[in-house]
């Protein structure tokens, strides 16, 4: 008995010890391939940025590093004025929507998680069921609504559909489950009202989740296309994606200028990513596993 139990172990030991050199070789090959794949992944971004720094005569060669990098394209595109507006519009809309989502999604998530009241289950199911409705089904009624109330071509018109999201609500509800009820009970005994308990006791305990939610909502609104395309008419009200789309479509626009516009709309989120990398990756994991 003893012998049969030991044998596979020694076999396995021999197996793992003998080919150690080739295993290292395998690791090197694996790393190199992964690295080359990763470089290929960022190539479109790299070419976008590199082209935005090139002079017209070198745009169509394959060189990644421009011969004489310059920022003339950026000054040209920004002096035109439109990108400046579009950037500002996108920023205002994304920031306000993010703040609204952080407040309301967490308030609803908290209420559904920590309160017992009649109607709780119905509200829960109702909000959950909206996850199944695609935005595209709602754009026609939203458009009619905006037309009726004069919301077309306004910030409010662009923002109103996204002020609260069911996805954010459930993400936050999951995270409030991790806040012990004892903390809330203790705060109640200390005489805090429910609003104060939510804001000063519960919210600080779910900060990582709030950060993840904020980044997702910001990214989603910064890149949103179909609804802003529908609801805006005048060039000054466009958001960056809508503006870039119309800019690229104009006759005779040089590719290096389109690349500059694309870079202007991409670089801010890339910077956000490089700063908050850990939060964002954690956030994706949290959203993926819990959302």
């Amino acid at each position: 008995m003893a012998v049969t139990e030991i044998r596979p172990t020694t076999d396995a030991l021999l197996k793992t010890q003998a080919p150690k050199k080739s295993a290292n070789m395998g690791q090197i090959i694996r790393w190199t391939l992964l690295f080359l794949g990763g470089v290929a992944m960022v190539m479109p971004i790299a070419y976008m940025i590199s082209t935005s720094l090139k002079w017209p005569h070198e745009v169509y060669n394959l060189k990644l590093i421009p011969d004489e990098p310059h920022i003339e394209n950026y000054t040209y595109v920004l002096e035109d004025g439109r990108f400046y507006w579009w950037f500002l519009n996108s920023m205002i809309i994304a920031v306000i929507t993010t703040i609204c989502n952080v407040i309301f999604d967490s308030l609803v998530g908290y209420t559904l998680c920590k309160f017992r009241f009649p109607g709780r289950y119905i509200v829960f199911i109702a909000i959950l069921s909206t996850l199944m409705i695609p935005t595209e089904m709602l754009v026609i009624p939203w458009y009619l609504m905006s037309q009726q109330f004069g919301w077309l071509d306004t910030y409010w018109g662009i923002m109103f559909p996204g002020l609260m999201t069911a996805f954010g609500t459930f993400l936050m509800k999951q995270f409030f489950e991790t806040v012990p009820d004892d903390f809330i009970e203790a705060a109640r005994i200390d005489g805090l009202n429910e609003l104060q308990i939510w804001w000063t006791v519960a919210m600080p305990l779910v900060k990582p989740a709030l950060a993840a939610l904020a980044i997702f909502v910001f990214l989603g609104n910064w890149t949103a296309f179909i609804w802003p395309l529908i609801v805006t008419n005048s060039v000054e009200m466009y958001t960056l994606p809508v503006g870039l789309s119309s800019f690229g479509d104009e006759a005779d626009v040089a590719w290096e200028l389109i690349m500059t516009g694309a870079a202007i709309s991409t670089i801010p989120t890339l910077i956000v990513f490089l700063i908050f990398q850990r939060y964002i990756i954690q956030g994706v994991v949290m959203a993926g596993l819990k959302g």
Binding site: F35, M41, P44, L62, T111, E136, V139, M164, I226, T266
Partner: protein, 295 residues
């Protein structure tokens, strides 16, 4: 008044005070429009004239419209190419990335970066790549190697895969991260047991890793399928001179909805298309959940 309530009653008051605005929001901005879309789908309305009830006319018109069937097919081609492709590529990357320690953070960053880009911006970058010589990067590279030109966006056969490529590319990083989280969640002891038994890496992959990753796979399949069925930004921006072209070969359902509603202003007909989209999304998700959960 409030003072006389019991603790439980006070809680009910607070809960509904917190929920008042959100409940109003979800009713007016989500539920009412859903009902409204279904209602409009049974009407004939060009936004200016009267709304007239037409029963199932819009649906009949849709199902006898050859363009709709072309678009319907395209939408499923996006799904059937995009989902398996992105699932396999992201798994292969995640599987190997999970076993790599050296500069792990850098590699992960490289793969994740495209997820942070805007679809519109990247659609224009890729559109530039696809242009014929002397403009496009890909064709310039091919010309440099002496290989004939490739008609990426001009060909009715290759335009759809060309439009799909940046959509797959942008989503990979997200899926890689989700897969790696799934891989991390598998207990180390399973692998150690397998190693002690001297099982081959291949068997470990098929018998331990993949079965235990099933919840992750289900999530990625359902999530990415919904994304590919709703593809719009990439198609619209890569074919603005002829949306959905050439010859409707890249047109997905959402683009057809957009054009019917906001170029032709045929609201009833467009609403019927959105109802079809809703049903398609629901049915596809339910079938996937059924199949993947049971097997």
């Amino acid at each position: 008044m409030y003072r006389n309530l019991t603790i439980r009653q006070k809680q009910i008051v607070w809960a509904w005070a917190f929920l008042a605005l959100p409940v109003l929001f979800y009713s007016v901005i989500r539920f009412y429009p859903t009902g409204n879309a279904i209602l409009i789908s049974f009407q004939d309305w060009n936004l200016l004239g009267d709304r007239t009830w037409t029963g199932f006319d819009n649906y009949q018109k849709l199902f006898s419209d050859p363009v709709f069937w072309k678009v319907f097919k395209n939408t499923f081609v996006y799904l059937l190419l995009g989902t398996p492709l992105s699932l396999i590529i992201s798994f292969v990357i995640a599987y190997h990335l999970d076993k790599t320690r050296f500069m792990h953070g850098l590699l992960r960053m490289l793969y994740f970066l495209p997820f942070m880009t805007s679809a519109v911006a990247m659609a224009w970058v890729w559109r530039w790549f696809y242009q014929p010589v002397p403009v496009g990067l890909f064709n310039n590279a091919l010309a440099g190697m002496g290989i004939p030109q490739f008609p990426f966006l001009q060909s009715t056969t290759w335009a759809l895969p060309s439009v799909l490529a940046p959509a797959v590319w942008a989503g990979l990083g997200f899926q890689v991260i989700i897969f790696m989280a799934g891989l991390r969640a598998i207990p180390r002891s399973y692998y150690e047991a397998a190693r002690i038994d001297g099982v081959s890496t291949w068997t470990v992959l098929w018998e331990i890793t993949l079965p235990l990753l099933k919840p992750t796979i289900v999530f990625i399949v359902v999530f990415s399928s919904i994304g590919f069925l709703r593809i719009f930004d990439h198609v619209f921006n890569m074919t603005t001179n002829n949306p959905g072209g050439p010859l409707n070969s890249t047109k997905p359902l959402v683009l057809m909805i957009y054009e019917t509603a906001f170029s032709s202003f045929d609201m009833g007909y467009a609403a019927a298309q959105t109802v079809v989209l809703f049903v398609v999304l629901l049915v596809v998700s339910l079938i996937q959940l059924r199949i993947l959960r049971d097997s």
